[in-house]
């Protein structure tokens, strides 16, 4: 790794995101406050007020307007960012599809929070999972360091593949927890993100274009196929940007991260802050003689099915952790997709689903160990009686 001067800072996840945004210095940020995103925008608004960034901060009257303003700004060629949580993301819903359909490289921090009702302000993935089919690239962060790192990478990913990117991190657990974050100097960040590239400019009167034209039976399908291609072919670009970032920082970013998984017999699959706790649980289990391992999904969209297939091949039992109840009646969203990508394996591992941590319910080392211990009889018999389970719920 190169010797870039780095600085250690004690930052909350929100402050880490705001600091990354300050160093990126986006042209336009349009946002509306919502817990637990508020601290991020409050910190960034202070940077704007103090003249530390050149950003045009558009304070709007709702998240629907926030994303609409972002769509306009990004189409006009501005480097555009925003952030939201929970109900705010839900209110953005129709505009999310416009951002991705118009192929606009907007970067949005989604500070994951449960959806109402019942009303709850704490961390779970219901909001992001509801937007998983909206055509946005979705990255998930384990800790504040990954928040900082992924926000920087997201700008380049968005602008190189021309798709909007959500950087997800768990509300309160990450957003309001202080951790040590290694930051880069601003000029290094500026060189890393570079100038925004645009295939066209909305405000170029010499070369007028139409954005958002009506598209009927004769072309809509071709446009969706083209958009799908962008998502299908995004991964090499995401990985290449991860490699560039590793050269700067020594920190490796791929589609998935594995922890003691190579020789593991029992595996869990998870996203977000729980992965850290799982690593500690796995160390304890290994000391107790259980061959446990973790598959952490960093890039959820595009779904890294090939990497997951390879990583889980030959495992004796797999548990997929869903921090969202998909209400499909057959398990959570991550479970469906992980299970589906194992279909083509001749020798499929038995697989179970755990819905956990809803509404910020604490997840302890003991909880994770319980999951692994419940995998033991499944690994021995190869049989799964009930694949749709809850972790840490009162029966």
């Amino acid at each position: 790794m190169s010797q870039v001067a780095k600085e250690l800072m004690a930052l909350t996840g929100n402050e880490a995101a705001a600091y990354a945004m300050r160093q990126i210095n986006p042209d336009v940020v349009a946002a509306y406050p919502i817990t637990p995103q508020t601290e991020l925008m409050q910190t960034f608004a202070q940077y704007v007020a103090d003249g530390l960034v050149d950003t045009e901060l558009v304070t709007v009257e709702s998240e629907h307007s926030a994303m609409s303003a972002c769509v306009g700004a990004a189409a006009a060629g501005a480097r555009t960012m925003t952030a939201t949580s929970s109900q705010g993301l839900a209110l953005m819903w129709e505009v999310l599809y416009i951002a991705s359909g118009l192929r606009l490289p907007i970067v949005m921090c989604v500070i994951n929070r449960a959806l109402s009702a019942p009303i709850n302000i704490h961390g779970d993935h219901s909001d992001a999972m509801g937007a998983r089919d909206s055509g946005w690239i979705q990255l998930f962060c384990e800790n504040a360091q990954e928040v900082y790192d992924n926000v920087l990478q997201a700008v380049r990913i968005a602008e190189e593949v021309f798709l909007p990117v959500m950087v997800n991190y768990d509300g309160f657990i990450i957003s309001h927890g202080v951790e040590v974050v290694e930051t880069l100097p601003k000029e290094v960040v500026q060189a890393f993100v570079g100038e925004r590239k645009t295939p066209y400019k909305l405000l170029d009167v010499e070369h007028p274009i139409t954005v958002g034209a009506l598209d009927l039976q004769d072309y809509y399908m071709e446009h969706k196929r083209a958009q799908s291609e962008a998502m299908r072919t995004a991964m090499p670009t995401i990985l290449k940007i991860g490699e560039d970032f590793e050269k700067l920082t020594g920190r490796r970013y791929e589609a998935i991260e594995t922890y003691r998984l190579d020789d593991a017999e029992l595996a869990i699959v998870a996203l977000g802050s729980t992965c850290g706790t799982a690593k500690d649980a796995i160390d304890e289990l290994r000391d107790e003689g259980l061959k446990a391992g973790l598959l952490k999904i960093r890039v959820f969209r595009p779904f890294p099915w090939k990497y997951i297939q390879t990583a889980l091949r030959g495992k004796k039992a797999v548990a997929v952790m869903d921090r969202a109840e998909g209400m499909s009646a057959v398990g959570g969203p991550v479970f469906h997709e992980v299970r589906s990508c194992l279909y083509d394996l001749g020798d499929r591992p038995p697989i179970v689903n755990y819905i956990y941590g809803l509404g910020g319910r604490d997840v302890s080392i003991e909880d994770i160990k319980k999951v692994f211990n419940e995998l033991v009889p499944i690994a021995e018999t190869g049989k799964v009686e009930d694949f749709y389970r809850y972790l840490g719920v009162r029966e």
Binding site: L8, A10, T12, I121, H122, E142, N143, D170, F172, I173, I174, H176, G177, V178, E179, V180, S273, T274, G276, T277, K279, D280, D362, V363, S364, I365
Partner: protein
Amino acid sequence: MQDMLEIRWHARGGQGAKTAALLLAESLMGEGTYVQAFPEYGPERMGAPMRSYDRISSKPIRLHTSIKNPDVVIILDPSLLADPSTLDGLKEDGIILVNTVEDPKTVREKYNIKGRKIYTLNASQLAQEELKRDLASVPMLGALIKVTGLTNLEDFLAHIRKELERKFAHRPEVIEANLKLYQRAYQEVKSE
């Protein structure tokens, strides 16, 4: 230092326990010292019981779960001791640091506490004297440095001075009053 030290703050909303937990983490962070600080939000109201947490470790901290078996419990409002869950999970050789007018022996008898090491500081009064405000969390940090030996007073004060200079550059008297308060707390904390 052991691999990881875990601290649980018990306070009422508005007493500054969240800020104190964050400030502690920030002041201890450095090469080879990893920190984590996080509040536990409930109703987010003035006066409502709340907790915040610190982890200090010689290794990177990966855990993202609340602290159930702390090494130290800090109590900013002594009335919280009336709820026995305040000491739940505290290690047998753990530390209890209470803001109270009582001495450790009285606290032990009054709340029937077995084992553990009890320290007390009349932090509210100290803060009143030096800052003219009941900011008990400030002197409690000074006392915490003393009873845990997490760092030495000079390094801690040097960091605090830097922080205060950022916020109160135009009011040097506030900086000096705060630093004096930390020092007094460090000296006046009582053990059994």
